[in-house]
């Protein structure tokens, strides 16, 4: 039987005890955990990775790690915070993989641009230029989440959020988007509370600068009362 749990509901001590019981009730509790947290965690992962399928893959890894690591979860943080931590680390791994792929893409691109490009690729690849290195090149859609923006300023903010870079990006996503407390974010990312504050402020200010630049560029718009309207 499935139990309708809220996202915050999984932090209940009795639910955690059931998760750790190691019996059939625990297995059912874990499926309820997945159902209750899947949407929020998928949203978090997707805001970093963009692609839905890839985000789903990463999220599966997150739940797998959670299932294996549940015994070691000490309960010092909320269960949802712990899940966000796992998601955060998996996202970082995935982005690191992408960066490696991008480096390969750049190397291959540089080689192809050079005089003896294809030969260089063949040498680097140990033979045929079309195989291993090129097959590792991942072309992904880095477009941000689709946003339902009610006005132009909001769309720009959403675009600015998607363009934020670490570490401010992580702090901002966890604090302002996911609503974790400053203490939780500090513990998750291994930062001091002051550092979280500074990073968060910088991220917000970066967003504002991004939006203002576009407002200035657009020129014909005048912002008014939270809405961008034609002057």
């Amino acid at each position: 039987m499935t139990e309708a749990l809220s996202f915050e509901g999984v932090n209940d001590a009795a639910f955690l005890a059931r998760l750790r019981a190691g019996d059939s009730a625990a297995r059912l509790a874990f499926s309820n955990l997945v159902r209750a947290t899947h949407g929020r965690l998928l949203g978090y992962v997707r805001r970093h990775l963009g692609d839905l399928e890839e985000s789903q893959e990463v999220l599966q890894e997150v739940y797998l790690a959670a299932h294996k690591g549940l015994g070691g979860f000490e309960g010092k943080s909320k269960l949802t915070t712990w899940l966000f931590s796992l998601a955060h680390f998996k996202v970082c791994d995935r982005i690191a993989d992408r960066t490696r792929d991008r480096a390969v893409f750049r190397d291959v691109g540089d080689a192809l641009d050079s005089d003896d490009g294809l030969a260089a690729v063949r040498v680097a690849d140990g033979g045929d230029a079309g195989d291993s290195d090129l097959s590792r090149v991942t072309v992904w859609d880095s477009a941000p989440d689709k946003v339902l923006a009610r006005n132009r300023a909001e769309r720009w903010i959403a675009a600015a959020v998607a363009a934020l870079e670490p570490p401010g990006c992580d702090v901002y996503q966890l604090r302002d988007v996911e609503g974790l407390s400053g203490e939780e974010v500090a513990a998750m990312l291994g930062l001091s509370h002051a550092a979280v504050r500074v990073q968060l402020h910088r991220a917000r200010a970066t967003i504002v600068a991004f939006v203002r630049a576009r407002i200035n560029r657009a020129g014909e718009f005048e912002t008014q009362g939270g809405k961008a309207v034609r002057a």
């Binding site: 297995r27 499926s31 997945v34 899947h38 949203g43 909001e154 959403a158 200010a205 939006v211």
Partner: protein, 90 residues
């Protein structure tokens, strides 16, 4: 900005530094008062704070695409396969 008013309120370059604490309601009363007074006189800073407030509360306009229910089922199926039949979590 009105020159007389400017004597009693903060200069524009200090406004961003106060924005974080202002939103957290952590500014001392007199500082908050001077901060708000500045915003009344200065359209540019008022816009900065308005956008800053929007940036600090993006959930209202960041679309949270509901995950298709089949994705949850796929996740459960994946876990079931990975963890073995004895860990049938469904």
């Amino acid at each position: 900005m009105n020159i007389v008013a400017a004597r009693f309120i903060y200069p524009c370059d200090q406004i961003p530094d106060f924005a974080y604490d202002y939103l957290e309601h952590r500014l001392p009363v007199t500082t908050a008062l001077r901060f708000r007074t500045h915003l009344k006189f200065c359209k540019g800073c008022a816009e900065f704070v308005r956008l800053y407030r929007m940036a600090a509360d993006p959930v209202q306009f960041l679309e949270e695409t509901p995950a298709p229910p089949e994705l949850i089922e796929r996740t459960l199926e994946f876990l079931e396969n990975e963890l073995g039949k004895e860990s049938d979590i469904r």
